[in-house]
């Protein structure tokens, strides 16, 4: 006999706060003891931290904002640096607004190319080796990301090429670079490349090349993984329609691979952003370098904690912004397509 069963609301299974406490923190004497001890240790640590924060000398940050931002750049150029920074911040703001109202991506790319050209023109009288601070950190990261992405895609596509020469060359490059630490690549480029390049490449440029060469190998592996995550049937369908291997890659495989690659790619770029701090060992005055330079001044000799707390906060804020932006991108791309 047919019978309709009405839908019921699910039962409420949330415990009361008191019941939760009892079950999770004070279940039995050992559990209660552990809870009390942990709470006491946390309280003691918090007390000391608050005490330090009240006594901390934030002047090392507040009085030197210019150095934190642009490093030891000659004072007559600082105004230009602020203009360029303002332009880029403006472009970032417009991008966020543009994404809200769903402007065509083409417009945004055009905007960025224009703004970057403008910023480059504003900064053109400044020698690259004179910039520092957050400005240099951002510059290293942006150039590193901007260059290693296309190079990595090329090498990654080469890694799955049917031509043995291209495949082997890509494989050698990837394995060679992944087999050495970033610091050694950085040192190698800052010491040995001058043998060939002479004075043609400044220290900052050599650091940029080192970051690109290093990160491209990892991007290539991510690209390979992304390509191989697209089912074989997609290539077969594309080839069966008469698309060439390159067309299939460009229109069918890479667009799908790209979405699978975003989390790993952003992770790689965040790690590149943080690795810019290693440039301090080849004598660049980026954020960490600025901190160390300030600590060398007598007045700030004892402000080590303040400087490193500030550095941690800056790196964290930017890394977190990148990872949350990528999560939004993933959600947006994930909608309605698969």
């Amino acid at each position: 006999m047919a019978m309709r069963v009405g839908a019921l609301a699910p039962p409420d299974q949330r415990p009361t706060p008191l019941a939760w406490l009892q079950a999770n923190l004070f279940a039995g004497p050992w559990n209660a003891l552990l809870t009390v001890l942990t709470a006491a240790a946390l309280a003691a640590a918090a007390l000391r931290l608050v005490g330090w924060m009240l006594r901390a000398h934030w002047a090392v940050v507040g009085d030197n904002l210019r150095f934190w931002l642009v490093g030891p750049m000659p004072v007559e150029f600082v105004g230009r640096a602020y203009w360029a920074g303002g332009l880029i911040a403006g472009a970032a703001l417009l991008t966020v607004l543009g994404l809200r109202v769903r402007v065509a991506p083409r417009v945004l790319i055009g905007l960025w190319l224009g703004i970057l050209a403008g910023a480059g023109w504003v900064m053109s009288p400044v020698r690259l080796d004179e910039v520092g601070g957050f400005y240099l950190t951002l510059l290293l990261a942006t150039v590193g990301i901007g260059a290693s992405f296309p190079v990595g895609v090329l090498v990654g596509v080469g890694r799955v090429s049917r031509l043995p020469v291209i495949r082997t060359a890509s494989l050698l490059y990837i394995e060679l670079i992944r087999g050495v630490p970033f610091i050694t690549v950085l040192l190698w480029f800052s010491v040995f490349v001058t043998l060939v390049s002479g004075d043609a490449l400044g220290r900052v440029q050599r650091a940029m090349i080192a970051m690109t060469v290093f990160t491209s190998a990892y991007v290539a592996e991510i690209v390979r993984g992304g390509i191989q995550s697209v089912p074989r049937g997609q290539t077969e369908a594309a080839r069966a329609l008469g698309l060439s291997g390159l067309q299939a890659m460009r229109h069918i495989i890479l667009p799908q691979a790209m979405r699978n690659m975003i989390p790993a790619l952003v992770g790689q770029f965040i790690s590149l952003f943080k690795d810019t701090s290693l440039a301090v060992i080849i004598g660049l005055t980026e954020l960490v370098g600025t901190g160390r330079a300030l600590l060398a001044i007598t007045a700030y000799l004892h402000d080590v904690r303040e400087v490193y707390v500030f550095l941690i906060v800056v790196y964290f804020v930017f890394s977190y912004a990148m990872s949350s932006a990528s999560r939004r991108l993933e959600r947006r791309l994930g909608l309605g397509e698969r």
Partner: protein
């Protein structure tokens, strides 16, 4: 095969009014996967407008055979000539054949990042270099022909299996192929969706006079539409004939066993 027939097959595309030349010719085709001998001397001639159904147990080489016809797999011995073009390692030949031969897959293989219409109009735009407007107009006509014009701007993920397969058929037709290959087109479908796909295929065979090779277990479709049925086992064609012969009077014991299993379940 006589010398005259071979010469005819090699003489280029059959002209209009050219009577009798096969559009697909397989001659003693062999293929191995590693040490596994999957095609063991397949010879076959298919004429324009013919609908050929290929049946047989799984692993018998049916799919591999039709995948060789548009070179998704390469054969290692023998000859395959499609529409007057011999399939060799020459990539120009392969591209030429692929744009004459449409293929429909068991798992649809629609492009999930493109809408139904984009799926259909991509190849004409990129391979035939048609302008977007023309490609989309033809794409819409084809979506209408497979009965789903209202789904043009929907992504494959939002379509049912049967709808996806119909879009896949439209996508293959967009290249205006002379030959359509179907690789178990209904095997991945829920039972209630099989008929809508078969109906589209019947229309294609009857109204458009398309040359079709269909690998399928749908014996009802075979009986109704096929001009010829091939039965394959262990990499060889063991039985071949018109549907009435095939269903009523099979000669090979393997065919008899297969039919008894598939028809009396």
């Amino acid at each position: 095969m006589t010398i005259a027939e071979v010469r005819e097959a090699e003489s280029g595309r059959p002209q209009p009014g050219d009577s009798g030349g096969p559009i697909i010719l397989l001659e003693d085709v062999h293929k191995w996967f590693g040490r596994l001998h999957v095609l063991r001397g397949i010879s076959l001639r298919i004429h324009p407008g013919e609908v050929v159904v290929v049946a047989g147990p799984s692993g018998s080489g049916k799919s591999t055979m039709i995948r060789c016809i548009n070179r998704l797999e390469s054969h290692q011995r023998g000859r395959i000539v499609v529409d007057g073009i011999e399939l060799t390692d020459d990539t120009r030949n392969i591209d030429a054949v692929r744009s004459e031969v449409g293929m429909v897959f068991q798992s649809f293989n629609l492009f999930p990042h493109l809408t139904a219409l984009q799926n259909v109009s991509l190849a004409p735009m990129k391979v035939r270099r048609w302008p977007r407007a023309r490609s989309e107009r033809v794409g819409l006509e084809l979506l209408e022909r497979v009965g789903m014009p209202e789904k043009a701007h929907v992504y494959p993920g939002q379509l049912s299996g049967g709808q996806q397969q119909r879009v896949a058929i439209a996508r293959a037709l967009a290249m205006q192929p002379k030959i359509m290959l179907f690789d178990e087109p209904t095997s991945a479908l829920d039972p209630e969706m099989i008929q809508e796909v078969l109906d589209v295929m019947k229309g294609l065979a009857r109204e458009a006079g398309m040359t079709m090779i269909v690998v399928t277990h749908e014996m009802g479709f075979a009986r109704e539409v096929a001009d010829r049925i091939l039965f394959m086992d262990e990499g060889a064609i063991v039985e071949e004939g018109a549907p009435e012969h095939f269903f009523t009077n099979p000669t090979h014991p393997r065919t008899k066993l297969f039919l008894s299993k598939i028809l009396h379940q």
